[in-house]
Symmetry: C2
Subunit: 317 residues, 2 copies
Protein backbone atom coordinates (compact mmCIF):
# COMPACT_ATOMS: atom_id res chain seq x y z
CA UNK A 1 0.00 0.00 0.00
CA UNK A 2 1.27 3.43 -1.01
CA UNK A 3 -0.12 6.67 0.37
CA UNK A 4 0.18 9.77 -1.79
CA UNK A 5 -0.01 13.25 -0.32
CA UNK A 6 -1.47 15.54 -2.93
CA UNK A 7 -2.37 19.18 -3.39
CA UNK A 8 -3.90 20.59 -6.56
CA UNK A 9 -2.79 20.21 -10.17
CA UNK A 10 0.68 18.71 -9.67
CA UNK A 11 -0.63 16.40 -7.00
CA UNK A 12 -3.53 15.32 -9.15
CA UNK A 13 -1.25 14.61 -12.10
CA UNK A 14 0.96 12.26 -10.14
CA UNK A 15 -2.03 10.78 -8.30
CA UNK A 16 -3.73 9.77 -11.55
CA UNK A 17 -0.49 8.14 -12.68
CA UNK A 18 -0.23 6.22 -9.41
CA UNK A 19 -3.87 5.18 -9.80
CA UNK A 20 -3.08 3.89 -13.27
CA UNK A 21 -0.22 1.82 -11.82
CA UNK A 22 -1.72 0.57 -8.59
CA UNK A 23 -4.99 -1.19 -7.81
CA UNK A 24 -7.51 0.48 -5.54
CA UNK A 25 -6.31 -1.69 -2.64
CA UNK A 26 -2.73 -0.54 -3.08
CA UNK A 27 -3.14 3.24 -3.19
CA UNK A 28 -4.75 5.89 -1.02
CA UNK A 29 -4.57 9.56 -1.91
CA UNK A 30 -4.62 12.03 0.98
CA UNK A 31 -5.54 15.50 -0.19
CA UNK A 32 -4.90 18.94 1.27
CA UNK A 33 -8.01 20.72 2.49
CA UNK A 34 -6.21 23.80 3.78
CA UNK A 35 -7.35 25.77 0.75
CA UNK A 36 -11.02 24.91 1.30
CA UNK A 37 -13.23 27.94 1.80
CA UNK A 38 -16.76 29.21 2.06
CA UNK A 39 -18.02 31.17 -0.91
CA UNK A 40 -21.59 32.21 -1.64
CA UNK A 41 -22.69 29.80 1.09
CA UNK A 42 -20.90 26.88 -0.57
CA UNK A 43 -18.06 24.89 0.96
CA UNK A 44 -15.52 24.60 -1.84
CA UNK A 45 -12.57 22.17 -1.67
CA UNK A 46 -10.37 23.11 -4.62
CA UNK A 47 -7.64 20.48 -4.14
CA UNK A 48 -10.08 17.64 -3.43
CA UNK A 49 -11.99 18.64 -6.54
CA UNK A 50 -8.91 18.88 -8.75
CA UNK A 51 -7.79 15.40 -7.66
CA UNK A 52 -11.32 14.02 -8.02
CA UNK A 53 -11.97 15.52 -11.44
CA UNK A 54 -8.52 14.43 -12.67
CA UNK A 55 -8.98 10.84 -11.51
CA UNK A 56 -12.47 10.81 -13.04
CA UNK A 57 -10.98 12.13 -16.30
CA UNK A 58 -13.39 15.07 -16.37
CA UNK A 59 -10.96 17.81 -15.32
CA UNK A 60 -10.14 20.88 -17.33
CA UNK A 61 -6.53 20.23 -18.32
CA UNK A 62 -6.19 23.67 -19.88
CA UNK A 63 -7.08 25.81 -16.86
CA UNK A 64 -6.00 23.45 -14.08
CA UNK A 65 -9.23 23.85 -12.16
CA UNK A 66 -12.81 22.79 -12.62
CA UNK A 67 -14.28 20.57 -15.29
CA UNK A 68 -13.92 20.09 -19.01
CA UNK A 69 -16.87 21.02 -21.26
CA UNK A 70 -17.99 23.44 -18.62
CA UNK A 71 -20.76 26.02 -19.01
CA UNK A 72 -20.83 29.39 -17.24
CA UNK A 73 -24.48 30.42 -17.11
CA UNK A 74 -24.61 30.75 -13.35
CA UNK A 75 -21.57 33.03 -13.33
CA UNK A 76 -23.28 35.26 -15.88
CA UNK A 77 -26.21 35.66 -13.50
CA UNK A 78 -23.89 36.31 -10.56
CA UNK A 79 -22.21 39.02 -12.58
CA UNK A 80 -25.55 40.60 -13.58
CA UNK A 81 -26.69 40.57 -9.96
CA UNK A 82 -23.46 42.08 -8.64
CA UNK A 83 -22.47 38.95 -6.70
CA UNK A 84 -18.76 38.15 -6.34
CA UNK A 85 -17.29 36.54 -9.44
CA UNK A 86 -13.60 36.47 -8.54
CA UNK A 87 -13.78 32.72 -8.00
CA UNK A 88 -14.78 30.82 -11.14
CA UNK A 89 -17.73 28.53 -10.55
CA UNK A 90 -18.69 26.49 -13.58
CA UNK A 91 -22.23 25.14 -13.78
CA UNK A 92 -21.18 21.47 -13.73
CA UNK A 93 -18.73 22.15 -10.92
CA UNK A 94 -21.50 23.83 -8.93
CA UNK A 95 -23.48 20.60 -8.85
CA UNK A 96 -20.69 19.04 -6.79
CA UNK A 97 -20.39 22.06 -4.47
CA UNK A 98 -24.13 22.06 -3.83
CA UNK A 99 -24.19 18.33 -3.17
CA UNK A 100 -21.21 18.45 -0.83
CA UNK A 101 -22.36 21.58 0.99
CA UNK A 102 -25.81 20.24 1.71
CA UNK A 103 -24.35 16.93 2.91
CA UNK A 104 -21.97 18.80 5.23
CA UNK A 105 -24.89 20.85 6.55
CA UNK A 106 -26.76 17.60 7.17
CA UNK A 107 -23.88 16.55 9.40
CA UNK A 108 -22.07 14.09 7.12
CA UNK A 109 -18.29 13.99 7.33
CA UNK A 110 -16.21 15.36 4.49
CA UNK A 111 -14.47 11.99 4.09
CA UNK A 112 -17.78 10.13 3.81
CA UNK A 113 -19.09 12.69 1.32
CA UNK A 114 -15.86 12.47 -0.67
CA UNK A 115 -16.20 8.69 -0.84
CA UNK A 116 -19.76 8.99 -2.15
CA UNK A 117 -18.87 11.67 -4.69
CA UNK A 118 -15.78 9.89 -6.01
CA UNK A 119 -17.66 6.60 -6.30
CA UNK A 120 -20.50 8.35 -8.14
CA UNK A 121 -17.91 9.68 -10.57
CA UNK A 122 -16.57 6.18 -11.19
CA UNK A 123 -13.36 6.52 -9.18
CA UNK A 124 -12.25 3.23 -7.61
CA UNK A 125 -9.32 4.55 -5.58
CA UNK A 126 -9.65 6.03 -2.13
CA UNK A 127 -9.39 9.81 -1.92
CA UNK A 128 -9.16 11.03 1.65
CA UNK A 129 -9.36 14.63 2.77
CA UNK A 130 -6.53 15.24 5.24
CA UNK A 131 -9.11 16.30 7.83
CA UNK A 132 -12.82 15.95 8.52
CA UNK A 133 -12.78 19.22 10.45
CA UNK A 134 -11.99 22.53 8.76
CA UNK A 135 -8.32 23.47 8.43
CA UNK A 136 -7.73 26.83 6.83
CA UNK A 137 -4.43 27.94 5.35
CA UNK A 138 -3.80 31.58 6.18
CA UNK A 139 -1.13 33.48 4.28
CA UNK A 140 0.88 35.99 6.26
CA UNK A 141 1.74 38.85 3.94
CA UNK A 142 2.83 42.44 4.14
CA UNK A 143 -0.81 43.27 3.46
CA UNK A 144 -1.84 41.32 6.57
CA UNK A 145 -3.02 37.77 7.12
CA UNK A 146 -5.12 36.58 4.19
CA UNK A 147 -7.39 33.57 3.76
CA UNK A 148 -5.76 31.36 1.16
CA UNK A 149 -8.25 31.83 -1.69
CA UNK A 150 -8.24 35.56 -1.06
CA UNK A 151 -4.50 35.53 -1.57
CA UNK A 152 -4.45 32.91 -4.32
CA UNK A 153 -7.39 33.77 -6.54
CA UNK A 154 -8.75 37.16 -5.61
CA UNK A 155 -5.35 38.85 -5.22
CA UNK A 156 -3.62 36.57 -7.74
CA UNK A 157 -0.73 35.82 -5.32
CA UNK A 158 0.45 39.42 -5.52
CA UNK A 159 1.06 40.18 -1.82
CA UNK A 160 4.58 39.32 -0.65
CA UNK A 161 4.50 36.21 1.51
CA UNK A 162 6.03 36.23 5.00
CA UNK A 163 4.74 32.91 6.33
CA UNK A 164 1.76 30.64 6.78
CA UNK A 165 -0.64 29.55 9.48
CA UNK A 166 -2.89 26.48 9.34
CA UNK A 167 -5.90 27.31 11.47
CA UNK A 168 -7.56 24.21 12.85
CA UNK A 169 -4.64 21.89 12.06
CA UNK A 170 -3.73 21.22 15.66
CA UNK A 171 -7.21 19.96 16.49
CA UNK A 172 -7.91 18.47 13.07
CA UNK A 173 -10.12 15.41 13.05
CA UNK A 174 -8.29 12.90 10.86
CA UNK A 175 -10.78 10.80 8.82
CA UNK A 176 -11.33 7.27 10.09
CA UNK A 177 -9.96 5.92 6.80
CA UNK A 178 -6.69 7.78 7.27
CA UNK A 179 -6.48 6.83 10.95
CA UNK A 180 -6.90 3.20 9.93
CA UNK A 181 -4.03 3.55 7.45
CA UNK A 182 -1.86 5.17 10.11
CA UNK A 183 -2.50 2.26 12.45
CA UNK A 184 -2.40 -0.47 9.83
CA UNK A 185 1.36 -0.95 9.28
CA UNK A 186 0.30 -1.80 5.72
CA UNK A 187 1.79 1.39 4.30
CA UNK A 188 4.99 0.62 2.39
CA UNK A 189 5.78 4.15 1.25
CA UNK A 190 4.47 7.69 1.28
CA UNK A 191 4.77 9.73 -1.89
CA UNK A 192 4.78 13.49 -1.57
CA UNK A 193 3.41 14.66 -4.89
CA UNK A 194 4.92 17.64 -6.75
CA UNK A 195 2.61 20.08 -5.01
CA UNK A 196 3.38 23.42 -3.40
CA UNK A 197 5.49 22.63 -0.29
CA UNK A 198 4.13 25.61 1.67
CA UNK A 199 0.43 25.59 0.95
CA UNK A 200 -0.35 22.08 -0.29
CA UNK A 201 2.00 19.77 1.63
CA UNK A 202 2.71 21.81 4.77
CA UNK A 203 -0.97 21.88 5.85
CA UNK A 204 -0.99 18.07 5.82
CA UNK A 205 2.23 17.93 7.82
CA UNK A 206 0.76 20.43 10.28
CA UNK A 207 -1.83 17.86 11.35
CA UNK A 208 -0.53 16.25 14.53
CA UNK A 209 -1.59 12.68 13.71
CA UNK A 210 0.03 12.84 10.27
CA UNK A 211 3.23 14.49 11.53
CA UNK A 212 3.57 11.93 14.32
CA UNK A 213 2.93 9.07 11.91
CA UNK A 214 5.55 10.22 9.42
CA UNK A 215 8.02 11.01 12.21
CA UNK A 216 7.94 7.47 13.56
CA UNK A 217 7.53 5.64 10.28
CA UNK A 218 8.91 2.29 9.22
CA UNK A 219 8.63 3.13 5.51
CA UNK A 220 10.38 5.54 3.14
CA UNK A 221 9.00 8.90 2.08
CA UNK A 222 9.66 9.97 -1.46
CA UNK A 223 8.93 13.47 -2.73
CA UNK A 224 8.79 14.66 -6.32
CA UNK A 225 10.13 18.17 -6.87
CA UNK A 226 7.50 20.72 -7.90
CA UNK A 227 10.35 22.93 -9.13
CA UNK A 228 11.89 22.12 -12.50
CA UNK A 229 14.78 24.17 -13.83
CA UNK A 230 14.28 26.85 -11.21
CA UNK A 231 10.60 27.40 -11.93
CA UNK A 232 7.30 26.05 -10.67
CA UNK A 233 5.34 24.08 -13.26
CA UNK A 234 2.20 25.79 -11.99
CA UNK A 235 1.24 28.14 -9.19
CA UNK A 236 3.09 30.41 -6.80
CA UNK A 237 5.63 27.94 -5.33
CA UNK A 238 8.64 29.66 -6.91
CA UNK A 239 7.44 33.13 -5.97
CA UNK A 240 6.87 32.00 -2.38
CA UNK A 241 10.32 30.40 -2.14
CA UNK A 242 11.91 33.60 -3.38
CA UNK A 243 9.97 35.75 -0.94
CA UNK A 244 10.82 33.44 1.94
CA UNK A 245 14.52 33.56 1.10
CA UNK A 246 14.79 29.97 -0.15
CA UNK A 247 16.77 29.02 -3.23
CA UNK A 248 14.27 28.57 -6.07
CA UNK A 249 15.42 25.17 -7.23
CA UNK A 250 14.92 21.48 -6.62
CA UNK A 251 17.75 21.83 -4.08
CA UNK A 252 15.79 24.52 -2.28
CA UNK A 253 12.80 22.18 -2.09
CA UNK A 254 15.02 19.32 -0.89
CA UNK A 255 16.35 21.56 1.90
CA UNK A 256 12.76 22.39 2.85
CA UNK A 257 11.88 18.66 3.00
CA UNK A 258 15.23 17.70 4.57
CA UNK A 259 13.78 16.31 7.81
CA UNK A 260 10.92 14.59 6.02
CA UNK A 261 12.15 12.65 3.02
CA UNK A 262 14.25 9.60 2.25
CA UNK A 263 14.17 10.01 -1.50
CA UNK A 264 13.75 12.94 -3.88
CA UNK A 265 12.77 12.74 -7.51
CA UNK A 266 14.09 15.58 -9.67
CA UNK A 267 13.91 16.37 -13.33
CA UNK A 268 16.70 15.68 -15.82
CA UNK A 269 17.00 19.47 -16.10
CA UNK A 270 18.16 19.52 -12.48
CA UNK A 271 20.43 16.45 -12.58
CA UNK A 272 23.44 18.59 -11.68
CA UNK A 273 21.86 19.29 -8.27
CA UNK A 274 21.80 15.60 -7.34
CA UNK A 275 25.08 15.56 -5.37
CA UNK A 276 24.08 18.57 -3.23
CA UNK A 277 20.67 16.99 -2.57
CA UNK A 278 22.20 13.64 -1.65
CA UNK A 279 24.54 15.53 0.69
CA UNK A 280 21.40 16.52 2.62
CA UNK A 281 20.78 12.83 3.31
CA UNK A 282 18.16 12.03 0.68
CA UNK A 283 18.68 9.61 -2.19
CA UNK A 284 17.96 11.15 -5.58
CA UNK A 285 16.20 9.71 -8.60
CA UNK A 286 16.38 11.67 -11.86
CA UNK A 287 13.37 11.37 -14.16
CA UNK A 288 11.23 13.18 -16.70
CA UNK A 289 9.00 14.89 -14.11
CA UNK A 290 6.99 17.23 -16.32
CA UNK A 291 3.62 15.49 -16.59
CA UNK A 292 2.15 16.80 -19.82
CA UNK A 293 -0.53 14.13 -20.07
CA UNK A 294 -1.75 10.94 -18.43
CA UNK A 295 0.86 8.81 -20.21
CA UNK A 296 3.62 10.96 -18.70
CA UNK A 297 1.93 10.71 -15.32
CA UNK A 298 1.74 6.95 -15.49
CA UNK A 299 5.39 6.64 -16.53
CA UNK A 300 6.61 8.96 -13.75
CA UNK A 301 4.42 7.11 -11.25
CA UNK A 302 6.08 3.82 -12.20
CA UNK A 303 9.51 5.31 -11.57
CA UNK A 304 8.43 6.82 -8.26
CA UNK A 305 6.98 3.49 -7.10
CA UNK A 306 10.14 1.61 -8.13
CA UNK A 307 12.30 4.22 -6.39
CA UNK A 308 10.24 3.92 -3.21
CA UNK A 309 10.48 0.12 -3.27
CA UNK A 310 14.24 0.35 -3.78
CA UNK A 311 14.56 2.72 -0.80
CA UNK A 312 12.45 0.37 1.27
CA UNK A 313 14.72 -2.54 0.36
CA UNK A 314 17.77 -0.42 1.25
CA UNK A 315 16.25 0.38 4.65
CA UNK A 316 16.02 -3.35 5.09
CA UNK A 317 12.32 -3.39 5.83
Amino acid sequence: MIVALAGGVGGARLAVGLADQLSARKLAIVVNTGDDFEHLGLTICPDLDTVTYTLAGIHNAATGYGRANETWSCMQTLSTLGAPTWFNLGDRDLGLHLTRTSALRAGERLSAITRKLTQALGIKHTILPMSDSPVRTMVKTRAGVLAFQDYFVRLRCKPRVEGFRFDGARRARVPAGLQALIESRQVHAVVVCPSNPYVSVAPMLAIAAIRRWLGTRAFPIVAVSPIIGGAAVKGPAAKMMRELGAEVSALGVARHYRELIDGFVIDHADAALAPDIEALGARVHVADTLMRDRTHSKRLAAEVIAFAHALRATRGR
Copy 2:
Protein backbone atom coordinates in the same frame (compact mmCIF):
# COMPACT_ATOMS: atom_id res chain seq x y z
CA MET B 1 -51.31 53.73 -6.12
CA ILE B 2 -52.47 50.20 -6.80
CA VAL B 3 -51.23 47.18 -4.86
CA ALA B 4 -51.33 43.81 -6.63
CA LEU B 5 -51.28 40.56 -4.68
CA ALA B 6 -49.57 37.96 -6.81
CA GLY B 7 -48.63 34.31 -6.69
CA GLY B 8 -46.81 32.51 -9.49
CA VAL B 9 -47.55 32.39 -13.21
CA GLY B 10 -51.06 33.91 -13.25
CA GLY B 11 -50.00 36.55 -10.79
CA ALA B 12 -46.89 37.38 -12.77
CA ARG B 13 -48.87 37.68 -16.01
CA LEU B 14 -51.27 40.24 -14.59
CA ALA B 15 -48.47 41.98 -12.69
CA VAL B 16 -46.47 42.57 -15.85
CA GLY B 17 -49.59 43.99 -17.50
CA LEU B 18 -50.15 46.31 -14.57
CA ALA B 19 -46.48 47.34 -14.73
CA ASP B 20 -46.94 48.16 -18.41
CA GLN B 21 -49.93 50.36 -17.53
CA LEU B 22 -48.74 52.05 -14.35
CA SER B 23 -45.57 53.93 -13.49
CA ALA B 24 -43.28 52.59 -10.78
CA ARG B 25 -44.75 55.13 -8.32
CA LYS B 26 -48.28 53.89 -8.97
CA LEU B 27 -47.86 50.14 -8.53
CA ALA B 28 -46.47 47.83 -5.90
CA ILE B 29 -46.58 44.06 -6.30
CA VAL B 30 -46.82 42.01 -3.12
CA VAL B 31 -45.80 38.42 -3.71
CA ASN B 32 -46.58 35.19 -1.88
CA THR B 33 -43.61 33.63 -0.13
CA GLY B 34 -45.53 30.71 1.36
CA ASP B 35 -44.10 28.39 -1.25
CA ASP B 36 -40.50 29.34 -0.46
CA PHE B 37 -38.38 26.45 0.65
CA GLU B 38 -34.88 25.25 1.43
CA HIS B 39 -33.34 22.93 -1.12
CA LEU B 40 -29.71 21.83 -1.34
CA GLY B 41 -28.90 24.59 1.12
CA LEU B 42 -30.50 27.25 -1.07
CA THR B 43 -33.45 29.40 -0.12
CA ILE B 44 -35.71 29.30 -3.16
CA CYS B 45 -38.64 31.69 -3.60
CA PRO B 46 -40.56 30.35 -6.61
CA ASP B 47 -43.31 32.99 -6.75
CA LEU B 48 -40.95 35.90 -6.18
CA ASP B 49 -38.74 34.54 -8.93
CA THR B 50 -41.59 33.98 -11.38
CA VAL B 51 -42.80 37.55 -10.88
CA THR B 52 -39.25 38.91 -11.06
CA TYR B 53 -38.28 36.99 -14.19
CA THR B 54 -41.59 37.86 -15.88
CA LEU B 55 -41.23 41.58 -15.16
CA ALA B 56 -37.61 41.44 -16.34
CA GLY B 57 -38.77 39.70 -19.52
CA ILE B 58 -36.38 36.79 -18.96
CA HIS B 59 -38.91 34.20 -17.80
CA ASN B 60 -39.54 30.88 -19.46
CA ALA B 61 -43.02 31.35 -20.87
CA ALA B 62 -43.22 27.72 -21.99
CA THR B 63 -42.64 26.02 -18.63
CA GLY B 64 -43.99 28.71 -16.32
CA TYR B 65 -40.96 28.61 -14.07
CA GLY B 66 -37.34 29.65 -14.30
CA ARG B 67 -35.61 31.49 -17.07
CA ALA B 68 -35.61 31.48 -20.83
CA ASN B 69 -32.45 30.29 -22.64
CA GLU B 70 -31.59 28.24 -19.60
CA THR B 71 -28.80 25.66 -19.39
CA TRP B 72 -28.93 22.56 -17.18
CA SER B 73 -25.32 21.58 -16.57
CA CYS B 74 -25.56 21.75 -12.78
CA MET B 75 -28.61 19.46 -12.78
CA GLN B 76 -26.67 16.92 -14.81
CA THR B 77 -23.99 16.86 -12.14
CA LEU B 78 -26.61 16.60 -9.37
CA SER B 79 -28.10 13.65 -11.18
CA THR B 80 -24.70 11.95 -11.62
CA LEU B 81 -23.92 12.48 -7.94
CA GLY B 82 -27.27 11.13 -6.76
CA ALA B 83 -28.41 14.49 -5.37
CA PRO B 84 -32.12 15.31 -5.47
CA THR B 85 -33.27 16.48 -8.89
CA TRP B 86 -37.04 16.64 -8.38
CA PHE B 87 -36.86 20.42 -8.33
CA ASN B 88 -35.56 21.90 -11.57
CA LEU B 89 -32.67 24.28 -11.00
CA GLY B 90 -31.41 25.91 -14.16
CA ASP B 91 -27.86 27.24 -14.21
CA ARG B 92 -28.89 30.87 -14.76
CA ASP B 93 -31.61 30.54 -12.13
CA LEU B 94 -29.04 29.17 -9.65
CA GLY B 95 -27.07 32.40 -9.81
CA LEU B 96 -30.05 34.18 -8.27
CA HIS B 97 -30.59 31.50 -5.62
CA LEU B 98 -26.93 31.62 -4.61
CA THR B 99 -26.92 35.41 -4.44
CA ARG B 100 -30.11 35.56 -2.41
CA THR B 101 -29.17 32.71 -0.10
CA SER B 102 -25.80 34.15 0.78
CA ALA B 103 -27.35 37.60 1.37
CA LEU B 104 -29.97 36.03 3.67
CA ARG B 105 -27.20 34.21 5.56
CA ALA B 106 -25.38 37.52 5.91
CA GLY B 107 -28.48 38.84 7.68
CA GLU B 108 -30.04 40.93 4.92
CA ARG B 109 -33.82 41.04 4.75
CA LEU B 110 -35.61 39.29 1.92
CA SER B 111 -37.31 42.56 0.91
CA ALA B 112 -33.96 44.39 0.72
CA ILE B 113 -32.44 41.55 -1.27
CA THR B 114 -35.45 41.48 -3.59
CA ARG B 115 -35.09 45.20 -4.21
CA LYS B 116 -31.42 44.78 -5.12
CA LEU B 117 -32.05 41.77 -7.36
CA THR B 118 -34.98 43.31 -9.20
CA GLN B 119 -33.09 46.56 -9.74
CA ALA B 120 -30.08 44.61 -11.04
CA LEU B 121 -32.43 42.93 -13.52
CA GLY B 122 -33.69 46.32 -14.71
CA ILE B 123 -37.10 46.21 -13.01
CA LYS B 124 -38.35 49.66 -12.01
CA HIS B 125 -41.48 48.59 -10.12
CA THR B 126 -41.50 47.59 -6.49
CA ILE B 127 -41.78 43.87 -5.81
CA LEU B 128 -42.36 43.12 -2.13
CA PRO B 129 -42.27 39.71 -0.53
CA MET B 130 -45.34 39.40 1.69
CA SER B 131 -43.03 38.73 4.64
CA ASP B 132 -39.40 39.20 5.64
CA SER B 133 -39.63 36.22 7.97
CA PRO B 134 -40.26 32.70 6.68
CA VAL B 135 -43.89 31.70 6.11
CA ARG B 136 -44.32 28.14 4.92
CA THR B 137 -47.47 26.81 3.29
CA MET B 138 -48.19 23.31 4.55
CA VAL B 139 -50.66 21.16 2.66
CA LYS B 140 -52.86 18.90 4.76
CA THR B 141 -53.49 15.75 2.76
CA ARG B 142 -54.61 12.18 3.34
CA ALA B 143 -50.91 11.32 3.12
CA GLY B 144 -50.18 13.69 6.02
CA VAL B 145 -49.05 17.30 6.21
CA LEU B 146 -46.67 18.12 3.37
CA ALA B 147 -44.38 21.06 2.77
CA PHE B 148 -45.74 22.89 -0.24
CA GLN B 149 -42.99 22.08 -2.76
CA ASP B 150 -43.06 18.45 -1.65
CA TYR B 151 -46.74 18.40 -2.51
CA PHE B 152 -46.52 20.62 -5.56
CA VAL B 153 -43.38 19.51 -7.36
CA ARG B 154 -42.11 16.28 -5.87
CA LEU B 155 -45.54 14.61 -5.59
CA ARG B 156 -47.01 16.53 -8.56
CA CYS B 157 -50.10 17.54 -6.54
CA LYS B 158 -51.28 13.94 -6.36
CA PRO B 159 -52.26 13.66 -2.67
CA ARG B 160 -55.86 14.63 -1.97
CA VAL B 161 -55.98 18.00 -0.26
CA GLU B 162 -57.85 18.44 3.03
CA GLY B 163 -56.70 21.91 4.02
CA PHE B 164 -53.77 24.25 4.47
CA ARG B 165 -51.64 25.74 7.19
CA PHE B 166 -49.39 28.77 6.88
CA ASP B 167 -46.61 28.26 9.38
CA GLY B 168 -45.08 31.53 10.50
CA ALA B 169 -47.91 33.70 9.10
CA ARG B 170 -49.15 34.82 12.49
CA ARG B 171 -45.78 36.23 13.49
CA ALA B 172 -44.74 37.24 9.99
CA ARG B 173 -42.53 40.31 9.77
CA VAL B 174 -44.13 42.48 7.10
CA PRO B 175 -41.46 44.31 5.05
CA ALA B 176 -41.00 47.99 5.88
CA GLY B 177 -42.04 48.89 2.33
CA LEU B 178 -45.36 47.06 2.72
CA GLN B 179 -45.92 48.48 6.20
CA ALA B 180 -45.40 51.97 4.75
CA LEU B 181 -48.01 51.25 2.06
CA ILE B 182 -50.43 49.97 4.70
CA GLU B 183 -50.03 53.16 6.70
CA SER B 184 -49.86 55.54 3.72
CA ARG B 185 -53.55 55.85 2.77
CA GLN B 186 -52.17 56.29 -0.76
CA VAL B 187 -53.50 52.91 -1.88
CA HIS B 188 -56.50 53.39 -4.16
CA ALA B 189 -57.19 49.73 -4.91
CA VAL B 190 -55.90 46.24 -4.28
CA VAL B 191 -55.89 43.81 -7.18
CA VAL B 192 -55.94 40.10 -6.35
CA CYS B 193 -54.23 38.51 -9.35
CA PRO B 194 -55.55 35.30 -10.94
CA SER B 195 -53.42 33.14 -8.66
CA ASN B 196 -54.36 30.04 -6.70
CA PRO B 197 -56.78 31.21 -3.96
CA TYR B 198 -55.62 28.53 -1.49
CA VAL B 199 -51.86 28.50 -1.84
CA SER B 200 -50.97 31.82 -3.45
CA VAL B 201 -53.48 34.34 -2.10
CA ALA B 202 -54.49 32.73 1.21
CA PRO B 203 -50.94 32.84 2.65
CA MET B 204 -50.92 36.61 2.09
CA LEU B 205 -54.31 36.99 3.75
CA ALA B 206 -53.08 34.86 6.65
CA ILE B 207 -50.61 37.57 7.62
CA ALA B 208 -52.20 39.56 10.42
CA ALA B 209 -51.07 42.99 9.23
CA ILE B 210 -52.35 42.37 5.71
CA ARG B 211 -55.66 40.86 6.86
CA ARG B 212 -56.28 43.77 9.25
CA TRP B 213 -55.39 46.30 6.54
CA LEU B 214 -57.76 44.80 3.97
CA GLY B 215 -60.50 44.34 6.59
CA THR B 216 -60.55 48.04 7.48
CA ARG B 217 -59.84 49.42 4.02
CA ALA B 218 -61.15 52.56 2.40
CA PHE B 219 -60.47 51.25 -1.13
CA PRO B 220 -61.98 48.56 -3.32
CA ILE B 221 -60.51 45.10 -3.76
CA VAL B 222 -60.80 43.55 -7.19
CA ALA B 223 -59.96 39.92 -7.91
CA VAL B 224 -59.45 38.27 -11.26
CA SER B 225 -60.74 34.70 -11.49
CA PRO B 226 -58.01 32.06 -11.89
CA ILE B 227 -60.75 29.67 -13.08
CA ILE B 228 -61.94 30.02 -16.67
CA GLY B 229 -64.71 27.79 -17.99
CA GLY B 230 -64.45 25.47 -15.02
CA ALA B 231 -60.72 24.86 -15.28
CA ALA B 232 -57.57 26.44 -13.89
CA VAL B 233 -55.36 28.05 -16.51
CA LYS B 234 -52.37 26.54 -14.75
CA GLY B 235 -51.68 24.62 -11.57
CA PRO B 236 -53.77 22.66 -9.08
CA ALA B 237 -56.44 25.28 -8.20
CA ALA B 238 -59.29 23.33 -9.83
CA LYS B 239 -58.18 20.02 -8.32
CA MET B 240 -57.96 21.63 -4.88
CA MET B 241 -61.42 23.21 -5.19
CA ARG B 242 -62.88 19.85 -6.14
CA GLU B 243 -61.19 18.06 -3.26
CA LEU B 244 -62.32 20.74 -0.82
CA GLY B 245 -65.93 20.44 -2.01
CA ALA B 246 -66.08 23.84 -3.74
CA GLU B 247 -67.73 24.36 -7.10
CA VAL B 248 -64.97 24.45 -9.70
CA SER B 249 -65.99 27.66 -11.42
CA ALA B 250 -65.54 31.41 -11.26
CA LEU B 251 -68.62 31.35 -9.00
CA GLY B 252 -66.83 28.95 -6.66
CA VAL B 253 -63.89 31.34 -6.49
CA ALA B 254 -66.21 34.29 -5.91
CA ARG B 255 -67.80 32.42 -2.98
CA HIS B 256 -64.33 31.78 -1.58
CA TYR B 257 -63.48 35.49 -1.86
CA ARG B 258 -66.95 36.64 -0.77
CA GLU B 259 -65.83 38.45 2.39
CA LEU B 260 -62.80 39.94 0.68
CA ILE B 261 -63.72 41.46 -2.66
CA ASP B 262 -65.74 44.35 -4.02
CA GLY B 263 -65.30 43.45 -7.65
CA PHE B 264 -64.64 40.24 -9.58
CA VAL B 265 -63.29 39.97 -13.10
CA ILE B 266 -64.41 36.86 -14.97
CA ASP B 267 -63.87 35.58 -18.45
CA HIS B 268 -66.39 35.91 -21.28
CA ALA B 269 -66.68 32.12 -21.08
CA ASP B 270 -68.19 32.55 -17.62
CA ALA B 271 -70.43 35.55 -18.33
CA ALA B 272 -73.53 33.51 -17.46
CA LEU B 273 -72.29 33.27 -13.86
CA ALA B 274 -72.32 37.06 -13.41
CA PRO B 275 -75.81 37.33 -11.78
CA ASP B 276 -75.01 34.64 -9.20
CA ILE B 277 -71.68 36.32 -8.41
CA GLU B 278 -73.29 39.74 -8.11
CA ALA B 279 -75.84 38.17 -5.77
CA LEU B 280 -72.91 37.49 -3.45
CA GLY B 281 -72.35 41.22 -3.19
CA ALA B 282 -69.46 41.71 -5.63
CA ARG B 283 -69.69 43.71 -8.82
CA VAL B 284 -68.65 41.75 -11.90
CA HIS B 285 -66.61 42.77 -14.89
CA VAL B 286 -66.46 40.42 -17.86
CA ALA B 287 -63.25 40.43 -19.88
CA ASP B 288 -60.86 38.35 -21.94
CA THR B 289 -58.90 37.01 -18.95
CA LEU B 290 -56.69 34.43 -20.63
CA MET B 291 -53.30 36.16 -20.78
CA ARG B 292 -51.55 34.44 -23.67
CA ASP B 293 -48.84 37.09 -23.98
CA ARG B 294 -47.77 40.47 -22.67
CA THR B 295 -50.18 42.32 -24.97
CA HIS B 296 -53.09 40.36 -23.47
CA SER B 297 -51.72 41.07 -19.99
CA LYS B 298 -51.52 44.77 -20.65
CA ARG B 299 -55.05 44.89 -22.06
CA LEU B 300 -56.56 42.97 -19.15
CA ALA B 301 -54.60 45.14 -16.71
CA ALA B 302 -56.15 48.25 -18.25
CA GLU B 303 -59.64 46.82 -17.76
CA VAL B 304 -58.89 45.78 -14.18
CA ILE B 305 -57.56 49.25 -13.36
CA ALA B 306 -60.58 50.94 -14.93
CA PHE B 307 -62.93 48.56 -13.08
CA ALA B 308 -61.19 49.30 -9.77
CA HIS B 309 -61.43 53.05 -10.36
CA ALA B 310 -65.12 52.72 -11.20
CA LEU B 311 -65.73 50.75 -7.99
CA ARG B 312 -63.85 53.39 -6.04
CA ALA B 313 -66.03 56.11 -7.56
CA THR B 314 -69.16 54.11 -6.70
CA ARG B 315 -68.01 53.78 -3.09
CA GLY B 316 -67.82 57.57 -3.14
CA ARG B 317 -64.21 57.76 -2.03
